[in-house]
């Protein structure tokens, strides 16, 4: 073939070798084999999936780190509850002795009352502002001292509320009953009045949600008054209806040792693995007021001790023992979940390492390989330049004189 000029080929080869050198240099400086999608489209796509998985692992780990201390705090609170129950059983057992004087019985009752206060305190445990035993109502203490009567801030003698007073659509009024352990929730619809709320309370009594004798009335001060006619039945009322204002307990109607649960029975779960979710809370009503009622059994024991009836004390001690067994049984799956979170944390750590390795193999490059590639590219480039330097100046004119 007739060769006229080597220049275009030399330029092309120089460009190619310089491009190869630039690529090798970029691989060394970044430690990556894939610096743009076109370097390896399949690896780039797999990297997208792997990064998402990696982010999920990070998130699961974060969830574990967020939930585990909270659950551990809840577990610790339950341990304290167990201690209080054991103390109450011990005190009750000693109180069942018929030889005790009345004053001694009262003294024991006071100690058990202290245990009850301790249980309530544990039941209202908050961790970083999150109440642990309120179900999904985590922003307020779940157990509130109950009263027989709550009055609205709205309404006065001069301007009384009436049955026809309209309620604010969408507003929510709740009545939590310490005796039944249940809560009536009333959400006002458009057109609802106080009469509608009154009827709802009546219906809740009929359904057993609220204790018999609970009613909503307009009191002599023209306020809405929600209360019970039984001095031992306490309730807690709240509302966000501007038409009613704030519902406040009548301080003269506080019920001793009665606590209403204002949380709910919801269990929030959190995802800590692709196919693993754990329940991160135990609702307080499930733990303390249902089944072998913890609070109820302690209250009964206090009442029995205060009455001095050793027979009742014995029965109440048995109830507290049942409550202790119940709480211990409830703790089993909860503690299991804590153990599961600890295991998951280790697993997630391993998974993270696996994914990081996968990502390195997808888009990374071994430094030794990268250095070798760079060295090879530099050598190739030097060879091309040297060849060009040799070839380009040579023409026939060099030999003609």
């Amino acid at each position: 073939m007739r060769i006229t000029s080597l220049l275009p080929d030399i330029q092309y080869q120089m460009q190619q070798s310089q491009q190869a050198m630039a690529t090798a240099e970029q691989q060394v400086s970044t430690g990556l084999r894939v610096n743009q999608l076109s370097d390896d489209p399949a690896a780039s796509a797999n990297m997208v999936v792997s990064l998402a998985e990696s982010a999920n692992i990070d998130q699961y780990t974060s969830n574990v780190n967020s939930v585990l201390p909270r659950m551990q705090a809840a577990g610790s609170a339950l341990s304290s509850v167990v201690s209080s129950l054991n103390s109450a059983i011990s005190l009750g057992t000693s109180g069942a002795n018929s030889d005790l004087q009345a004053a001694q019985m009262q003294s024991i009752a006071a100690e058990v009352q202290s245990d009850l206060s301790s249980v309530i305190s544990q039941a209202n445990t908050a961790f970083n502002g999150v109440y642990l035993f309120g179900g999904s109502e985590t922003t307020t203490p779940p157990f509130v001292a109950a009263s027989t009567t709550y009055n609205s801030s709205q309404g006065s003698v001069g301007s009384p509320l009436t049955a026809a007073t309209p309620l604010t659509a969408g507003s929510v009024t709740t009545i939590s009953d310490a005796t039944t352990g249940q809560t009536m929730t009333f959400k006002a619809q458009a057109g609802d009045t106080i009469a509608t709320l009154q009827q709802a309370v009546t219906n809740a009594v009929s359904a057993g949600t609220l204790s018999a004798g609970t009613a909503a009335t307009i009191n002599a001060q023209g306020q809405l008054s929600i209360g019970t006619n039984n001095a031992s039945d306490g309730i807690v009322v709240s509302t966000d209806d501007a038409a009613l204002g704030t519902m406040s307990a009548d301080p003269t109607t506080a019920v001793s040792n009665a606590y209403a649960y204002v949380g709910n029975g919801a269990v929030n779960s959190v995802q800590v693995g692709d196919s693993l979710s754990v329940a991160m809370n135990l609702p307080g009503n499930q733990l303390f007021t249902s089944g072998a009622n913890v609070i109820g059994s302690l209250t009964s024991l206090i009442t029995a001790l205060q009455s001095g009836d050793t027979s009742q004390v014995g029965t109440a001690v048995n109830s507290v023992s049942s409550a202790l067994t119940y709480v211990s049984n409830q703790r089993v799956p909860f503690d299991g979940a804590i153990n599961q979170l600890n295991s998951e944390e280790s697993y997630l750590g391993q998974e993270k390492v696996t994914l990081t390795t996968q990502q390195t193999s997808l888009v990374g490059i071994n430094l030794a390989d990268a250095a070798t590639n760079l060295s090879q590219a530099q050598l190739d480039n030097s060879a091309v330049l040297a060849a060009a330097a040799k070839v380009m100046p040579q023409t026939l004119l060099d030999y003609l004189h």
Partner: protein, 461 residues
């Protein structure tokens, strides 16, 4: 043969050598001229004449009949076609390289923001009443919407740039076809006189090569000159006549190409920068945009379904999470935005309690559930990443292959038509020697004339 006849042959020889030197001189002068085709002198020996009677004939010298450009039409056509392919690949590569960074796997891309949104929802599930976590979800949702907006804007901006490119290319095509047609009468006149088109043909070939960079053209040589047509047969040049292409904005906002009759030939244009630009704009980017819009629409729909399945922090039924900005309509990557801005509106609860998180699982499940298009959101984005990478990689490979092929073809064409300085230097010596030899003949003949002229004088003395 008379001395005069011999002198005539020597003069022809001088002229031929001088002409050949002139051709060599011109070749050397144009050694670096793009598109120049080397010329060779065409020498022809004169018919023999009888000098001493029948049977005793001798040649009557040499004649420089013309200068012939050394062409290979087939190779030139191949170079033009490959140039067209290379330009097309480069146009596609250039656009795709501008799109490629939008679909990264690092930060602020769709995949990262999508994952961040799911992470923020997962974080919220650990404390659904936490206002900071709720705000983080709103922020992550907007970041994802922004990422989708950015990707969509990048694609549509690229289409707008290509619209401008189409207009410019058509303008250049019209200028080139006009210049090509203008050269035809001059070339025809030379050929009618039995001469080679020479540098005029070189100029025309260069213009056709420039035209090939813009679009793929079919070339036919006729008696009236060159005929150039586009891939679908639309005439651009016929002899000394050129036909302008036109541009107009179509219903889809894209710049369409019309032939001289106003017929839309956009879809039939292939090759060259124009073909590559149109293909990238109407096929590649359009396809990516469709997939991106489908992803945005179906993802938003899934999020909205999850959101409306639960209750917000106020106990109200959830409302849409994403919406279409501006005039509304169907949600697309270009118009997606957050429908809710109040963190309390996130429908985390499934039972209406303010701290419930039962509905959040409906959100997080979206990550692992196939959208109606058949892929999970993450896989759909990964598929987009693969396609952008693959399209760019293919365009890169095509450009590289085309460059390499073009280099070889140019080498071949240069081996036929290119100027070799070494060869021309040798020719220079060859023709110089020939001239010197012819001059020596003239000198010798002059001596012989002198001798002849002195023959009578010497005898008289």
């Amino acid at each position: 043969m008379s001395l005069n006849a011999s002198l005539s042959i020597a003069v022809q020889s001088l002229n031929a050598a001088s002409g050949a030197l002139q051709a060599t001189n011109n070749n050397i002068a144009n050694a670096n001229t793009p598109g120049y085709t080397r010329e060779v002198p065409v020498l022809q020996s004169q018919a023999p004449i009888s000098i001493f009677g029948p049977g005793a004939t001798v040649g009557d010298g040499v004649e420089l009949t013309k200068f012939q450009s050394v062409r290979d039409e087939l190779l030139q056509t191949q170079v033009q076609q490959e140039t067209s392919s290379q330009s097309s690949a480069n146009a596609q590569l250039s656009s795709l390289q501008q799109i490629e960074p939008t679909f990264t796997t690092s930060t602020q891309d769709i995949g990262t923001e999508m994952t961040a949104l799911f992470s923020s929802i997962s974080t919220l599930s650990t404390d659904p009443a936490d206002s900071g976590s709720r705000e983080a979800v709103i922020s992550a949702g907007q970041n994802l919407a922004d990422a989708l907006n950015t990707a969509s804007n990048t694609l549509t901006s690229q289409q707008a740039s290509l619209n401008t490119q189409v207009t410019q290319d058509v303008s250049q095509i019209n200028q080139l076809t006009k210049q090509i047609a203008a050269l035809t009468p001059q070339i025809n006149a030379l050929e009618a006189a039995g001469q080679d088109g020479g540098t005029l043909e070189d100029q025309q070939d260069q213009l056709v090569l420039s035209l090939s960079k813009l679009t793929n053209v079919s070339i036919t040589q006729g008696s009236d000159g060159v005929t150039l047509t586009t891939g679908n047969g639309t005439a651009l040049v016929v002899g000394n006549q050129s036909f302008n292409l036109q541009t107009t904005t179509g219903n889809d906002g894209m710049t369409d190409v019309l032939d001289q009759n106003g017929t839309d030939i956009t879809s039939s244009i292939t090759g060259g920068d124009l073909g590559g630009s149109i293909q990238t704009r109407d096929t590649t980017i359009s396809g990516l945009l469709t997939q991106l819009n489908t992803l945005a629409n179906q993802f938003a729909s899934a999020m909205n379904t999850a959101q409306t399945s639960g209750y917000d922090q106020n106990g109200d039924a959830g409302t849409d999470f994403f919406a279409a900005s501006g005039a509304g309509g169907a949600i697309s990557a270009g118009n997606i935005t957050m429908a809710i801005t109040d963190p309390s509106q996130i429908a985390a609860s499934s039972d209406g309690s303010s701290g419930g998180n039962g509905n959040l699982v409906n959100f997080t499940n979206i990550q692992s559930t196939a959208l109606p298009a058949g892929l999970t959101p993450g896989d759909a984005y990964a598929n987009l990443v693969y396609q952008v990478g693959s399209l760019t990689s293919n365009a890169q490979a095509e450009s590289t292959a085309s460059t390499s092929t073009l280099l070889q073809l140019n080498d071949q064409l240069s081996s036929v038509s290119g100027v070799s300085i070494d060869q021309e230097s040798a020719n220079l010596i060859q023709y110089q020697n020939a001239y010197e030899a012819a001059a020596r003949v003239v000198s010798t003949l002059q001596d012989m004339f002198t001798v002849t002229m002195s023959m009578g004088t010497a005898a008289a003395e």
